[in-house]
Symmetry: C2
Subunit: 215 residues, 2 copies
DNA sequence: GAAAAAATCACCAAACCCGGTGATAGGTCC
DNA sequence: GGACCTATCACCGGGTTTGGTGATTTTTTC
């Protein structure tokens, strides 16, 4: 059973030459070729391809948005993005939308066939240059996610409990009830927390706690 | 000027065979080869390599931790991870630590040379299988990061300004000064904000605003 | 042009928050 | 055993926040 492939690209020449290229390998079968993505979901459903070759730059709907829709409708379809630009944001957005690989148009002739085979083998083919961008973004993102505790304010465990209550919007009185201690004791803890966090109000405590993930 | 390379791997045979392999290309020069990473920072500083080939599995210190230290000390050093496992978490951790590429030990013979050349060219070489894991993680992570605005509380622009002040820890009185309006006007806005956000206190406002990225 | 929404301001009373200043009791560390 | 930290509780007084109620002007929307 041959691998079913669909192309979306507004450039007729590219669609044609990709068609020619695929014909040289009998394991591939071009089952659809469209100049725009306005009806892409219906078309993909009708063609039922294993692999979609998607151009990023297209009139009407954006190729990235199309990826999102196709992946939503048919999650098991593999999508290989093709583009002339190695634009950081678009690479990133394509990935988030669900693309499985990334090929530069300048490399279509030499790389398309092996890339599709990589996809078939469960891989995510992309040029090392693209991969570098992906890794860069990944590092950036991970740095945001888990900014190290760095600043440890040495709160006692009790103080952390009180802090958690504050962040959850409880008043001092409610915290007293929650933790079964007196209102004044809560106040003592709060004062200590303010001191240790170098803040002077509830709002600053909440902001700092949430922002620096003190819980 | 040849490309300077350093190897870290506890397996003597692998270190030797990589050394042999690199000798076949006169543009590469093996300037260091170590069986553990306990002194890796000093060693890398002494050897001053362009590329470090790092084994993940090693006695004593973990190869990933070593990457972190080396990248901290010498940020411009390119690091190519080598491993026998395609373990998701370790791939991810390596990337976050600062690795620039990823090669399977089973592919050392055929791929090491081109991979190092990719690194030299500013790329991030990795097998399509590894790339798939990276993309998967990336999609997962990005889904966490940008939970869509979803809940739009339809705050007016003025209310958003006041909200921003609150989140930054300003008292109502200070906000009045900041925005050049009266204290009572600030209160009106605050009341509206509470109503729209379905909250009843400053702390809840700050928590909700930060958590749902309302700014 | 009328209705709706946004932005502005005002007052009262109750509740709440916060700084300062203290005290007591239990645990840890040297 | 004494110094130190943590957890507990208490009072005062000033300042802040909050709910309720209401008003005027400007801008937006239909």
């Amino acid at each position: 059973m041959p691998l079913r492939i669909v192309i979306f690209d507004d450039n007729n020449n590219i669609r044609d030459s990709i068609g020619m290229l695929l014909k040289t390998e009998e394991q591939f079968e071009l089952v659809g070729s469209f100049p725009h993505v306005l009806d892409c979901v219906d078309e993909v459903k009708a063609c039922n391809p294993d692999v979609v070759l998607m151009d990023i730059e297209m009139p009407g709907m954006n190729g990235i948005e199309a990826v999102r829709l196709i992946k939503q409708a048919m999650p098991h379809t593999e999508i290989l993005m093709q583009t002339v630009f190695e634009d950081d944001d678009r690479v990133f957005d394509s990935i988030c939308a669900g693309a499985s690989g990334y090929i530069l148009k300048s490399q279509l002739n030499t790389r398309l066939i092996p890339f599709i085979k990589d996809l078939q083998g469960g891989g995510s083919p992309m040029s090392p240059t693209i991969a570098r961008k992906v890794l860069g973004k990944m590092q950036e993102v991970s740095a945001v996610i888990r900014q190290e505790p760095g600043s440890d304010y040495k709160l006692s465990s009790r103080e952390k409990e009180v802090l958690a209550c504050i962040v959850n919007g409880l008043s001092h009185k409610m915290i007293a009830g929650e933790l079964n201690i007196s209102y004044e004791t809560v106040r003592s803890h709060v004062k200590k927390i303010y001191e240790k966090l170098h803040v002077v109000s509830i709002s600053q405590v909440v902001f700092k706690a949430v922002n620096e993930k003190l819980l």
